[in-house]
């Protein structure tokens, strides 16, 4: 790994083929919310194998993610995805479910396991348990602060992967309410959830992807990257499972440049970066829970830039 890793998420082969990944070091393949998502890598083993190969051919690391809440009936497919990941030379698998972590540990002991945000790592003691099961990296639970993240990385001696931009997961369900309404709309499952659907009430907004609920605002840590780097973080994620290739490319370019500056000790962010973010922001920006506050709030100095994104 270079001085840092910037990674992103891609749900299917079509999106992978349409995406320019030049800003990234690694890619997570698969959609964690829904087995019915259009040609989900996690359901199509030939696509997954091709996806891993294509990512690695670009000199990037290929990671295979797994479902956020797999019930028993999904486990055979999870097993197949793990086998495909191992056979195709994936660099790691991401697990959100501790049963799946156990499967990886027992059946694929050489495979690096990244613990995902739905696995609920809140404490250093929890991370230590998962380390014993082969975890080498963790995404902190989405509702903990950076101070808490630091206590986990320090206490457990395991690096954290920090989401720096994109819609933040707010929940996962076994039930897609969009299916109740789809007869009213021209788009149907499995592409309906890829529309820009928002649940709104007053000034509240959440992005709906059917079985998943995401933040309405984009989590944005652009102006806080120097602090993240100073705190020792080196793995950063742009969450883009439901975003367009243009979003993935332009936001990736913004963060690649800003991270290179931050690592070099320069905290300045070019104004054009904020313009690019504005173009890809529908509702506004937030910092999630990183500063111990309400997840939809934004804390920072760039008040004007942030207001323009609302």
């Amino acid at each position: 790994m270079g001085s840092f890793e910037l990674n992103t998420t891609i749900s299917n082969l079509r999106s992978l083929l349409e995406s320019d990944l030049s800003a990234y070091d690694a890619v997570y393949l698969g959609n964690i919310y829904c087995r019915l998502f259009e040609d989900n890598f996690l359901e199509r083993m030939d696509d997954l194998k091709e996806g891993i190969t294509r990512v690695k051919d670009q000199g990037l690391r290929a990671y295979v993610t797994s479902y956020a809440a797999p019930r028993n009936d999904a486990l055979p497919k999870v097993q197949m995805a793990l086998e495909t990941a191992a056979a195709a030379g994936a660099d790691a698998v991401e697990v959100h479910n501790l049963g799946v972590l156990r499967m990886v540990h027992e059946q694929f002991p050489g495979m690096a396991a990244h613990v995902g945000g739905f696995a609920n790592v809140y404490t250093d003691a929890g991370a230590e348990v998962l380390k014993e099961y082969g975890a080498v990296r963790f995404t902190p639970n989405y509702e903990i602060s950076l101070d808490e993240v630091e206590s986990i990385t320090r206490g457990a001696g395991m690096p954290a992967e920090i989401q720096v931009h994109g819609k933040m997961p707010l929940g996962v369900s076994d039930y897609c309410f969009l299916l109740e309404y789809e007869q009213h709309w021209p788009e149907k499952c499995p592409v309906l959830c890829q529309k820009q659907l928002f649940l709104k009430q007053g000034d509240w907004a959440m992005r709906s992807v059917g079985k998943g609920v995401l933040s309405g605002k984009d989590l944005c840590m652009l102006e806080h990257l120097p602090a993240l780097v100073a705190a020792g973080h080196r793995v950063f994620r742009i969450e883009a499972a439901y975003e367009t290739p243009a979003y993935r490319l332009q936001i990736g370019q913004v963060y690649r440049a800003a991270l290179e500056s931050a690592v070099a000790g320069d905290g300045t962010v070019d104004e054009s970066a904020w313009q690019a973010i504005r173009e890809h922001t529908a509702v506004g920006l937030c910092n999630g829970f990183y500063f111990g506050r309400t997840g939809s709030e934004y804390v920072g100095k760039r008040v004007e830039a942030i207001a323009a994104c609302g």
Partner: protein, 323 residues
């Protein structure tokens, strides 16, 4: 014999649960469980709760099922020293690290994986067994078929919620409430509280129950979308659950008034006893029970609806900023 596990949000409710036939009662340690502090017990009250339960022939479990901070685990272990010394019969927990440490320190204490652990498959159960958990609460979304599969293949005790909420999202995997409002405070004993985060022991503002409008970009697609979130009572499945051999039927509801919880406990006590007393070759007539449950359900729904309005209103209040 299946165990009837009742909630208690105060000492009066502990007494009522025992008197109405609960085999076990669970209470939250103040600041450490998935309910607001008004429905949790201070340490000395918890001591008294253990005595009340044991005097009535019931067990007492303590819920310490918040997702705590790393720095809080030593305090938790100190609390557990007291509770175990007082004779608590089990602990309901969520954080895997805290569970592993409690198990190492008290290897004979029965550990229950909370609903917040979101245990959804058999591999999950095996994972939790490996860190010392002996009973798991089945996620409310699991089907009867999944419970049967679990019971057949695993050695962990299964607890099934028979009165609870079935949220739109999986419990323990939802941050909708603190995304809209999170208030950090501390209680009188210095314990951090996360008002707005049910996973962290605050309260859930139930924002999923808001009347959401669905937009495609800026265009209104559907007004007043309802995200499924039901409070349920099991009835038809109770005889089958007993036949299946589930270890524990669990009632949620620490936040409800004592008389309502007492009537729920009494209802299920009598239902379970009637099921067990029924000759194996005779069908069990649930119709009289259905009528009785409707009255309880009506009162619960009224209370729940009012509580939801209060919470949604509170969720709109600004968070006081530190001076």
């Amino acid at each position: 014999m299946v165990e009837l596990l009742a909630p208690a949000g105060n000492l009066e409710m502990v007494k009522a649960a025992v008197e109405n036939g609960a085999n076990a009662i669970y209470v939250g340690a103040r600041g450490w469980s998935r309910r607001r502090d008004a429905y949790e017990l201070a340490d000395e009250q918890l001591h008294e709760a253990i005595a009340i339960a044991h005097a009535g022939g019931a067990k007492l479990r303590v819920a310490i099922n918040t997702n705590m901070q790393s720095c809080e685990i030593p305090s938790l272990l100190q609390k557990m020293d007291k509770f175990v010394g007082w004779g608590v019969d089990g602990a309901i927990m969520t954080d895997v690290g805290a569970m592993a440490q409690v198990h190492r320190r008290f290897p004979h204490l029965v550990l229950h994986a909370s609903i917040g652990a979101n245990i959804v498959n058999n591999q999950d159960v095996k994972f939790y067994r490996s860190i010392g958990v002996s009973q798991v609460v089945a996620d409310t979304k699991l089907t009867f078929r999944e419970l049967v599969a679990r019971q057949a293949e695993l050695d962990a005790g299964i607890e099934v919620l028979i009165h609870a909420n079935n949220c739109y999202t999986y419990l323990g995997k939802c941050w909708m409430s603190p995304y809209h409002r999170l208030e950090r405070t501390t209680d009188n004993f210095g314990k951090d509280l996360f008002r707005g985060s049910p996973n962290r022991g605050g309260l859930d503002y139930r924002v999923c129950l808001e009347q959401w409008d669905l937009f495609d970009g800026e265009a209104l697609l559907e007004p007043q979308i309802a995200l499924k979130n039901d409070a349920f009572f099991y009835l038809d499945d109770i005889p089958a659950l007993i036949d299946l051999g589930v270890h524990c039927l669990k009632i949620q509801g620490r936040e409800y008034p004592v008389p309502l919880v007492a009537s729920i406990v009494r209802f299920y006590r009598e239902l379970i006893d009637a099921c067990l007393a029924k000759p194996a070759d005779q069908p069990f007539d649930l119709d009289p029970w259905r009528l009785r449950l409707e009255a309880i359900r009506a009162e619960r729904d009224g209370r729940r609806g009012n509580m939801t309005l209060v919470l949604l209103n509170e969720a709109r209040q600004p968070v006081p900023q530190p001076a």
